[in-house]
Structures are given as C-alpha cells and as structure tokens.
C-alpha cells in the first residue's frame, strides 16, 4: 500500500482522483497537496477533523456507537418474542371467551392496546440499548462503556486478543449489518460482541483492531491477503457423507424405510426418525455451516470465511492457534483427505464447538501446508514417530509419538486416525500420568497441555523410563522454543 504519500496512504481528505478539488490535475508526487477547498492544510499530523461524508470511519479517534439500525432491529426481535410468548396466546384466549373462536372488534381492540404498550416498551428498550453502548480505541486498549445512568467501563488490552470474528446472521445480511466479536483468553464471558455495525465499518473496525493488536498505528490499511484454499461444495458434501457412522446411519434409515413401506410396520418410525434427525445434525447442519469455506493467509493471520445462511469471517492472528488435530476417518484416508481441528484460547464454552474447525475437508497435503502456516517451521510428516508400547491396553489405540525442535506430534485412533500437533512454544505444562492398569504394565502417558479445547495432546502407553525422557525433553524443548520465539503478542513489532 505504498502510494505517493508513504506507506499509509494520503493522510486525510478525499482521494486525489475521486474528490472534486483534484479532478483534472494529477497530484504532485512525493508532496502532500498544498491547498484544497478548505484552505491551506497543515503539512503533517492528525487531520483537523473528519469530513462528514468520508465513508471510512476512523475508530482510532473519538467514541463510537453501534449502527442506528440496531435499535429498530432489537425492537423487532423483541416484538417477535412478545407475539410468540404473550400476544398470540392472548389473542386466542380472548377470542375463545364465548363459544367458538371469534374476532370481535372488542377483542382486536384489547389486543392492539396491549401490543401497542409492548411496542412502546420494546422501542424504548431498543433505543436505550443502542444509547448505552459506546466504544473507543484508547492507546492500545479497546474501551467498551455500557450503561446510560450507571456506567460500566471495560478496558481490553488489544495485545491479548485471540481472534476477531465478523459474523453476519441471515437478517443482518439483508440489512448490510454485521457483528464484530473480539475473543480474549479467559472464561466463557471474556468475549466482546459489538452487534451490530454497518458492514463497511465492521470491516474497518476489524482492520483497526488487528493493526493495534499487532502494534502498528491504527490507520494502517488492512493487510493484504493471499487466497490459500477453497473447499468446493462437492468435496464438503462428499467428506460429510463418506464417514463410516454416517454411511451406517444412511443404511439404517433406508432399511427401516423399506421395512416401513413393505410391511406397513409403523414401529419402524422409531428407528427412521432418530436416524433422519442424526443425519440432519451430522450432514446437513455442517453442510450449511461450512458451505463456501475459504482460507486465506495474510500477515495478520489466517482468515476463514464460511457459512451459507449465517456468514462468518474469522481472523486468527499469528501465534493464537494453540494446538491442531489432523483427523482422517477411515474412508478419507483412501482418498487422501483430512480435516483440521484447532484449539484457539479465546473460544470458550459453546463458541468453542462452533470455531474448532480450521479446514472441514481438504487433501492431506493442503492440511499439512496450513499446519505449517499456523506453526511456522513445522513439518509434521517429517517428524519421526516412535511406536507406542505393544503392551498398551486402551480403547483409543495409541500409535506413536515424536518430536522435533518445533512441534510435538502424537497419533492415535483405530479407524479414524488422529494426529495431534502442538508447537513447543505453545505448551503450557507437561504431565506424566500412570493409571492403575498402566502401573501393572509399567507404562505411562505423557500429556502436553494446551488451553482447553478440542485438541488434547498425549503420548499414551510409553515405557516408564521412556515416558520420563519424553517429559524432560519436551519441557526443555518448550523452554528453548519460548526463548527463541519471544512474545508473539505483538506480531508486527
């Protein structure tokens, strides 16, 4: 983005070719324009004021509110809830007072009066909610103020941001609105959700927050991104169907349907309906959720875009992915496909399940390349895996574990092969555990702990002496990796 005015674009005012004052005359390269319609301009420094019409809002300056349409949207949502919970039962109860159901003018009058009061309450609540939330970027912190009468100020250090999502539910997509979610490390209540902002300003806010988090000035333009991979619809559908449990359920569903039709046996519905529900949940829901999945890489992290009805755009800054699991179900292995699951420290509770997929289905090499993206310098396939002890008796068969200077890798699973990867620099602690059965067999399990998430890295069923050696070497590699890497909180500095 190095233009005629340096790396950050023109410092202020309309663009040189679009705005009226410069039309026809090319800007003088290397120098800011000397005069405009508003008189001579100070040569450098922050702009004297923002132009009223200039579309990009600078969130780094001043205090901001959500988009005004949030208030009517919330009031509408409130009215829908009112109608379902109170309005409709009220209407039915009033109409039923006599014999049969009749809508007399009196009934409609009472209903309209109650609804009117509810509407006023909802509108006031919506406006109040819109008024009560203000946010600003103050130095390196995002400050969110809530409340009109009573103030609740929350200050979030942006260097601790784990991920930034722009979520657009179906209704807000029609209204060109978007929600910005800032995920922080911590418990389930440690996220900031700003709903809703205009679509453009949501993008702008995301870019500015990421720039601040990286330690760059807030007016840094959005980092350019390089498309990495796009999951085609056919592959996504195929990957969801070509799993042994799903195929089994489809078989069960079809056979129960056959019995139902041939023998007119109604009891088969007890099998068919749960199977259908399972298929809806296991195939259709992920299909809708991950449709159009695309991955892009940029200096400020991995960007994910997906969703058919509700679109999500996630940004995972560098060093925020804690651990990765490469999942290869039995049938996929024949096709050379794999899925990538991740643990990101920010997502806790329900959102963890929503945001635990980094790549829903892709050729194995693509997955490996993406792992190398999130853990720079990692070559998972090049890591020699030492087989686990043959004496081990576990349901989840331990396959092998190995390590190099960057990552710790362990593989396990009977039919569905899971390869867990954690970067040494991200390991929180190392544990050796021996359960009673393992004590009898003189075996132990080494856990490399990551923040809570879907991925749990453990080398199971190692000989005790070997387990201790793995423990010590992992602890030292983690130490060395952290000393090498330094603090990645501000990745651009």
């Amino acid at each position: 983005m190095s233009g005629p005015y340096g790396p950050y674009g023109p410092p202020q005012g309309p663009p040189p070719n679009g705005g009226s004052p410069y039309r026809g005359q090319p800007p003088v390269y290397g120098q800011p324009p000397v005069s405009g319609p508003y008189g001579p301009r100070p040569p450098y420094g922050p702009p004297p004021y923002a132009y009223p019409q200039s579309p990009p809002i600078r969130f780094s300056q001043g205090t901001h509110r959500l988009h005004w349409a949030t208030a009517p949207l919330r009031a509408m949502a409130g009215m829908v809830v009112y109608f379902v919970l109170l309005g409709f039962p009220l209407l039915v109860a009033l109409g039923r007072r006599g014999e049969g159901f009749r809508l007399t003018p009196e009934v409609i009058g009472i209903f309209m009066a109650v609804s009117g009061v509810a509407a006023i309450v909802m509108v006031v609540a919506g406006v109040w909610g819109w008024l009560s939330l203000r946010f600003r970027i103050d130095g390196d912190d995002l400050v969110v103020e809530r409340g009109v009468l009573r103030r609740n100020v929350r200050r979030i250090p942006l260097s601790r941001v784990q991920a930034i999502d722009v979520v657009r539910p179906l209704i807000t997509r029609m209204l060109a609105l978007a929600e910005v979610r800032v995920e922080l490390a911590g418990d389930a209540h440690s996220e900031i959700a700003l709903s809703y902002l205009g679509r453009q300003s949501a993008q702008q806010l995301r870019a500015e927050l990421l720039a601040h988090a990286a330690g760059l000035p807030g007016h840094t333009p959005e980092a350019p991104e390089r498309p990495f991979w796009r999951v085609s619809f056919g592959m996504l559908f195929g990957s969801l169907v070509l799993k042994l449990p799903v195929l089994g359920t489809i078989l069960l569903f079809l056979s129960s349907l056959l019995f139902l039709l041939v023998y007119a046996e109604g009891a088969m519905l007890a099998v068919a309906v749960p199977a259908l529900l399972g298929l809806l949940r296991g195939v259709v829901a992920p299909l809708v959720m991950y449709a159009g999945y695309s991955v892009a890489t940029s200096p400020d992290g991995v960007r994910l875009r997906y969703g058919l009805l509700e679109t999500r755009m996630q940004t995972l800054p560098p060093g925020r992915v804690q651990a990765v699991r490469i999942v290869e179900p039995a049938i996929w292995r024949g096709l050379g496909w794999a899925r990538l699951d991740v643990t990101v420290a920010g997502y806790a509770g329900d959102r963890q399940a929503l945001s635990s997929v980094l790549l829903p289905a892709a050729p194995r090499q693509v997955c490996m390349m993406l792992v190398a993206q999130v853990f720079p310098g990692a070559h998972v396939d090049a890591v020699a895996l030492h087989p686990a002890s043959a004496k081990g008796l576990t349901l989840d068969r331990a396959d092998g574990a190995g390590t190099d200077e960057t990552v710790f890798v362990s593989r396990h699973g009977w039919l569905c092969r899971n390869t867990d990867v954690i970067a040494h620099a991200r390991a929180q602690s190392v544990r050796l555990t021996v359960n009673p059965l393992q004590r009898f067999l003189r075996l132990g399990t080494v856990h490399v702990d990551a923040p809570p998430g879907v991925v749990r890295v453990a080398a199971a069923d190692r000989e005790l002496g070997e387990a201790r050696a793995i423990l010590e070497s992992t602890a030292h590699r983690a130490q060395a990796a952290r000393a090498r890497g330094g603090d990645k909180a501000r990745w651009a500095r």
């Binding site: 190995g402 390590t403 602690s429 050796l432 021996v434 060395a480 603090d487």
Partner: protein, 203 residues
C-alpha cells in the same frame, strides 16, 4: 531412543542448589543436558538431578483423616437415621458398615496420599508429583504460570496448613501442593510469583 535427545538448552537441574528448601537460591546456568541420558523405569517419578522431593507437612495426613471421618459420620448418621425411620433396620446397619469401611479406607489412603506428594523447584520449572491411584508428575515452566494462589479451608487454617495451586492457561495442568505449613506456603507462592514474573511469556 534417538528421537528424544534434548536441544542444547541451559538450565538443567544438575548443578542446582536445593531450591526446594525454604532458603532457595538463584537459578544457576548448569551444564547442558547430556544427549544420551536415559531414565531408568524405577526412577521415572524421581525428581532427578540428585534432588530430593520436598515433602509436605505430616499434618496433612490428619487433615485428610479428620475430613474423611467427619464426612462419613455425618453421612452415616443422616442416612442411617433416615433408613431406620423408614423401617429398614438391616439397610441402616449395612449403610453404617459401608461408611465405616469408607472411613477406614480414607484413613489408610490419607497416609499413602501424604507419602505420594512431593515438589521441587528446578531451574526453569516447578515439578509436583502426587496421586495414589493415578500417579502424576507435573512439570510447570515458570514462564507459563498465570497466577499462583494459596487457599486454606477452616480445618486447614486451624491446623496451620495451606494449599498452593499453580494455574496456567491449560485447565488440565492441575498442579497443587496441599498441606504446606502456612508460612512456607506463602514463601513458596512469593518465590513462584517472582520467578513467573521474570520469565512471563504471555499465552
């Protein structure tokens, strides 16, 4: 086992003073970790480097025993009375006998648990071992500690002991040292907090 050789990281505990003792000592740069070191299976749960495990206070045994006995007496009395009023004298007796067995088991396990606990402050990390049924050895690097807390329940406070807990961003870490004399617990917490601050690495 060629794959598990360690990198040339300084700070192995070979030449460390006995930092587990209250007086402690500044961490010293020790000789690099030998490449071909093997750990005998019998010493898999030893602290290594010639260090001893710092033990916890024997008062912990009595704290466990009192807790076990009090709970079983309360449960036995409550459940037994309910069953007796309900008409089942036999079931009441069986219930009391079962809780008596639980109390005896708790009495024995308290001693085993006390013996299983040990901790050591090494140059770069804190190690804890414990567990009667599932044995654990936990290595927590100082730079990864989010915070350290000291807690003491009513009984613990009366006995003058406390529990030190180390928290990292991983919930699975679960490194705790119960039954430390209160002053020693405070000292340990301060030492750990200081070392953590010196080497803090964020998440």
């Amino acid at each position: 086992m060629p794959g598990y050789g360690t990198p040339n990281a300084p700070g192995r505990d070979a030449g460390m003073p006995h930092a587990g003792m209250p007086q402690g000592g500044p961490p010293q740069a020790a000789a690099p970790y030998p490449q071909d070191a093997r750990y005998p299976a019998d010493h898999a749960f030893a602290p290594g480097g010639g260090m001893p495990w710092a033990p916890i206070s024997p008062r912990y045994v009595w704290q466990r025993r009192v807790t076990a006995v009090v709970w079983s007496v309360v449960a036995a009395a409550g459940g037994g009375l309910l069953m007796w009023f309900g008409g089942g004298t036999l079931s009441a007796i069986l219930w009391v006998v079962a809780l008596l067995l639980v109390a005896v088991l708790g009495w024995v396990v308290a001693q085993l648990a006390y013996r299983s606990y040990g901790y050591a402050e090494r140059a770069d990390d804190f190690i804890v071992t414990y567990g009667v049924f599932v044995k654990r050895l936990i290595v927590v690097p100082y730079g990864r500690m989010q915070f350290v807390d000291v807690s003491a329940g009513l009984l613990e406070r009366w006995m003058g002991i406390a529990t030190v807990r180390l928290h990292t961003a991983a919930a699975a870490t679960d490194a705790r040292v119960p039954g430390l004399p209160a002053t020693e617990a405070a000292l340990l917490r301060d030492r750990l907090a200081q070392k953590g601050e010196e080497r803090s690495m964020g998440l």
